[in-house]
């Protein structure tokens, strides 16, 4: 409850900005887009606090000064109104609003500006396709498809194209940029820049069905060199992959028997579920489950995918033999591209 007390003073913004260790809060902006938005939030808040102070001051003055005292029965003067006052409280708000409206219009255009010079500018294009209830990140210039974790290089303009395969979703990484909707049949654009390396939490903000609340993803900003390594490794074929990594052959077999029709690894497999090429490096399983010591979360998720993520469309594998499951898990955990 002490939390509440700390919230009451007007300094709450500074306070909450300090809580942003999650890289989740819009109050702790980590990039230019979120900065622009945070500045507008602050600007609007200051103007509005001014309004609130004025109104509350008049309000308190009036209800204290003109309250009915015991025994008072006088009939107040029946005032009709005051033209000058009406003009004052019409004009002043208009001026206040202009202070907000003008920067807002300018920034609305800034945020919509996704034009880049193909030759000169340093940028990465990512096509984000939202599915019930997971995210697909395609890098058309690198021939890479990734699931759940969106790797981006730092200090590079990321041009994001938003699409959806089923219902409307919305792409939101509060610490980096406000949201835009993933709308079926429409491509939406936005951009963001992450100056610092780090993991930024992202969420779906448009009600999209049963699994909506667990439709999380991560934006992982790495330095540009690491990003290039990542992208080229992600683009490897299965054969190249096997040359680089010693993978569990048994696990691969289980994967090919059960999973490959929906999940792709190194360019091979279906696209009904997330691409698993770098599954071993995922920050969390299925967008929200932590890695645990005995891999129980992963095993349970494969056996009963809707138990913890209701509405999930993945087929359950309750009867997969224990040894097959172990092999599969070993294989999946070995899927890494950055090491």
């Amino acid at each position: 409850m002490k939390y509440l007390w700390r919230l009451l003073p007007l300094g709450f913004i500074l306070l909450l900005a300090g809580c942003g260790k999650q890289n989740l809060s819009a109050l702790d902006p980590q990039g230019p887009v979120a900065d622009i938005q945070f500045d507008l939030i602050k600007l609007s808040l200051y103007i509005m606090i001014f309004v609130i102070v004025v109104v509350f001051a008049i309000y308190l003055f009036v209800i204290i000064k003109y309250r009915e005292r015991p025994g008072d029965t006088h009939i107040p003067k029946q005032v009709h109104g005051n033209k000058a006052l009406e003009v004052v409280w019409t004009v002043i708000p208009i001026i206040l609003l202009l202070f907000l409206a003008i920067p807002n219009v300018m920034q609305t255009f800034t945020l919509a500006d996704v034009d880049v010079n193909e030759e000169e500018d340093d940028f990465v294009r990512v096509v984000v396709t939202a599915h019930q209830f997971w995210w697909e990140f395609e890098y058309p210039d690198y021939d890479v498809v990734a699931g759940q974790d969106m790797y981006i290089p730092t200090n590079t303009k990321i041009i994001i194209e938003l699409e959806a395969s089923d219902v409307i979703h919305s792409f939101w990484v509060p610490a980096l940029a406000g949201k835009q909707d993933n709308v079926p049949g429409i491509t939406n654009d936005m951009w963001l820049i992450a100056p610092q390396e780090g993991i930024y939490q992202g969420k779906c903000t448009e009600l999209c069905g049963e699994g909506h609340w667990l439709m999380d993803f991560k934006v992982i900003a790495v330095d540009p060199d690491t990003f290039d390594t990542w992208a080229s490794s992600m683009a490897r074929t299965v054969d190249e992959e096997e040359e680089v990594n010693v993978v569990s052959a048994e696990g691969r077999e289980v994967f090919e028997q059960n999973c490959i029709s929906c999940h792709a690894i190194s360019g091979e497999g279906g696209d009904l579920g997330p691409n698993l090429t770098n599954f071993g490096e995922r920050s969390v399983i299925a967008g929200f489950l932590d890695w645990d010591e005995n891999d129980e979360n992963l095993e349970n998720f494969i056996r009963y995918p809707t138990e913890k993520k209701p509405g999930n469309l993945m087929q359950p594998f309750p009867n997969l033999a224990d040894d097959e499951m172990d092999a599969l898990i070993d294989y999946l955990k070995s899927l890494k591209v950055l090491e």
Binding site: A112, V183, I186, N188, D189
Partner: protein, 116 residues
């Protein structure tokens, strides 16, 4: 509320006053003229589309203009919106039109396909 005097179910006999009769005759003339004019406008609209001589870029705004003229004629001549005592009716119909304009425009344009 009570309508003292006249029973609303009783058949009305009697004739309109002379003044009303004159007014009705005049009204009939106006209505016939505007009907002829409406037929004329409709024909022009069809011809402007049917004939290849008129470029589409001109024909479409033109037929929309003709449609608007026709509608105003319908409202004011046939539906008597111009008569006295129809202030509220006018206000409401035109408010409707005023709201209809952004409605149609946004459904046409703001569908996310083209960004404005």
């Amino acid at each position: 509320m009570a309508q003292h005097g006249i029973d609303p179910t009783a058949p009305l006999t009697g004739e309109p006053t002379k003044k009303t009769k004159r007014k009705l005759a005049k009204e009939l003339r106006t209505q016939l003229i505007s009907f002829t004019f409406m037929i004329f406008l409709t024909t022009i609209a069809f011809i402007s589309i049917a004939s290849d001589a008129i470029p589409t870029g001109f024909a479409i705004p033109f037929i929309l203009l003709l449609a608007c003229i026709q509608v105003v004629l319908q409202l004011y001549v046939f539906m008597h919106l111009n008569e006295r005592g129809n202030g509220w009716q006018n206000a409401m119909i035109w408010t409707g039109v005023l709201i209809a304009i952004p409605t149609v425009a946004s459904l046409m344009l703001l569908l996310g396909i083209v960004k404005f």
